[in-house]
């Protein structure tokens, strides 16, 4: 097992005026696992993790958090380790205890599951590193032009 690097940056809030005044993160365990195996609701939020098929130095160049993970600076802690079997890098993150929740649109998207924002962010990091871009869905029919230009 390779070395584990913990990269936690604790700040009181997401930072920036738009993020000020946000409510505290509410941890709501997802319903999953075997019957009778309910998670401890007082336990810390779990790690979300992705494996990125690149070495750690490409996932975190110069040890810096890549986009868009850097936007969660202060509200998550990050763990990085080489994946076994030459599979790249295991990149994990979880909300910090006491961190403030995102506000506005981000809060709307996250709902009552802070893990979703972390999971989505990690997936975007993975896409940026492996595919060079974050794949966007087709635009909704509601807001597209109707004639070929």
């Amino acid at each position: 097992m390779g070395p584990i690097r913990r990269l936690a940056r604790a700040r009181s809030a997401l930072g920036g005026g738009a993020r000020a005044g946000a409510a505290r993160l509410v941890r709501v365990p997802r319903r999953s696992g075997r019957p009778g195996a309910d998670r401890d609701r007082s336990a810390a939020a779990g790690w979300e993790v992705v494996t990125v098929d690149r070495p750690p130095e490409q996932v975190l160049p110069d040890g810096r958090w890549p986009e868009p993970l850097d936007q969660l600076d202060g509200v998550v802690e990050v763990r990085v380790r080489p994946a076994p079997g030459d599979r790249g890098t295991e990149l994990a993150a979880r909300p910090l205890d006491g961190a403030a929740a995102p506000a506005g649109l981000a809060a709307h998207l996250v709902g009552d599951d802070p893990g979703l924002l972390v999971r989505r962010t990690l997936r975007q990091v993975k896409q940026r590193v492996e595919a060079g871009e974050v794949l966007r869905a087709d635009r909704s029919a509601l807001d597209r032009r109707t004639a070929r230009g």
Binding site: A131, L135, R136, D138
Partner: protein, 382 residues
């Protein structure tokens, strides 16, 4: 532009919809020249996917001409005639770098919102619900193709549209089935389903050197096609004891490789739905598991979905079987298949039993769904 849209269960319509647009730097826009129905569309047509929305454009198999390209596209130019693989795959993840594009990690947008405990393949698809990570399909005048350098393939001049079209999905799916089955020279291979994928699986098994290929179906015209174009021995399950025939024709051993390419039933009875039976009945899978020789391989391809009842798990363990599956094709085989098409080793145009203008799309799907008038695939021209 005009596109064939799902409206409601068993109801399609050609409608005016917004043009697609470049959304990523690796996208191209393709002006569609041909598109085909496929078995995976039938559950959508029947309204069995709760994520499908009225107005979603169907069509997983298509071919056309590049009319716009994003700034990061390297392999394609405006005017290229391309066939577009049915799996949307990034080309850079662990799976893609090993040729397993159907398992791509980055082929669908926003998979993070999917419950990871039920995580499926993240490869994207055309003509599947947007809410399920799908992209608008090819039954339209234009279509957006993400990761175009990975999923779009220039068609050799020697291959016409009607043949090349099936290099998008049916041919690579059939090739993948034979590969997953590890078909070797001298093998006996049985294929359930004589639709396009079944026929092309049989053809792939023959090309890989199988000694005997048997195809099981009940439609005489499809069985004749499999016999004529894939060199397969037809077995009509309405008139034949399939298990006994397979034993006899494999020297009592059972086929070395059994491939199930029958798709899924398009509808369920009202009684089943009211009883909450949200399961499929895997008759062909069960038959394949029982027929396969010891230590053989059973492959399930195509649109199988959801859960199944009465799966003979005991036979799997008793006979030390390997069971493998794939819903989508890999992309790595498409150039090889186009090359074989150019050399006339692989012919697919006979599968296009009905050629229709896109405006007749609803009728084409009705023919395809009902297997009416000998329909194997309906092919549309915008």
């Amino acid at each position: 532009m005009r596109a064939l849209c799902w409206v409601a269960a068993d109801e399609l319509a050609v409608r005016e919809v917004p043009d697609p647009e470049l959304r990523n730097e690796r996208d191209v826009i393709v002006r569609v020249r041909r598109s085909a129905t496929s078995g995976g569309d039938l559950p959508l047509l029947a309204g069995r996917d709760p994520l499908l929305r009225a107005g979603d454009v169907l069509g997983a198999e298509f071919l056309g001409e590049v009319v716009e390209a994003g700034p990061a596209v390297r392999r394609h130019r405006i005017g290229d005639r391309v066939v577009v693989g049915a799996s949307v795959a990034c080309g850079g993840c662990w799976y893609c770098r090993r040729g397993r594009h159907s398992c791509c990690d980055n082929g669908a947008p926003d998979v993070a919102s999917v419950d990871p405990d039920r995580w499926r393949s993240d490869a994207g698809s055309f003509g599947r619900p947007r809410a399920a990570g799908g992209f608008a399909g090819g039954h339209a005048e234009y279509v957006r193709v993400p990761y175009a350098d990975v999923g779009a393939f220039r068609v050799p001049d020697a291959v016409d549209d009607d043949r090349a079209l099936f290099a998008a999905d049916a041919a690579p799916t059939g090739w993948l089935a034979a590969e997953l089955g590890e078909v070797r020279p001298g093998d006996v291979v049985a294929v359930w389903g004589a639709g396009a994928v079944g026929q092309l699986t049989a053809g792939a098994a023959t090309l890989r050197g199988a000694a005997r290929v048997l195809v099981v179906d009940r439609y005489a015209d499809r069985l004749r096609m499999a016999e004529r174009h894939a060199g397969a021995e037809p077995l009509d399950y309405r008139r034949t004891d399939v298990a006994a025939e397979l034993r006899e024709r494999s020297g009592g051993r059972g086929p070395d490789v059994c491939v199930v390419a029958v798709g899924v039933p398009a509808t369920r009875s009202v009684a089943e739905r009211l009883a909450g039976r949200d399961v499929d009945r895997p008759d062909a899978v069960r038959e394949a598991v029982h027929a396969c020789r010891k230590d053989g391989v059973v492959v399930v391809v195509g649109g199988a979905e959801g859960n199944v009842d009465t799966f003979p798990l005991g036979a799997v363990t008793d006979k030390r079987l390997a069971v493998r599956g794939s819903r989508r094709p890999d992309l790595r085989d498409v150039p090889m298949l186009l090359h074989r098409m150019a050399r006339d080793e692989l012919r697919t145009e006979h599968l296009a039993t009905h050629r229709l203008p896109l405006e007749d799309g609803p009728r084409g799907y009705a023919l395809f769904r009902d297997r009416a008038d000998g329909c194997v695939r309906a092919v549309f021209t915008p």
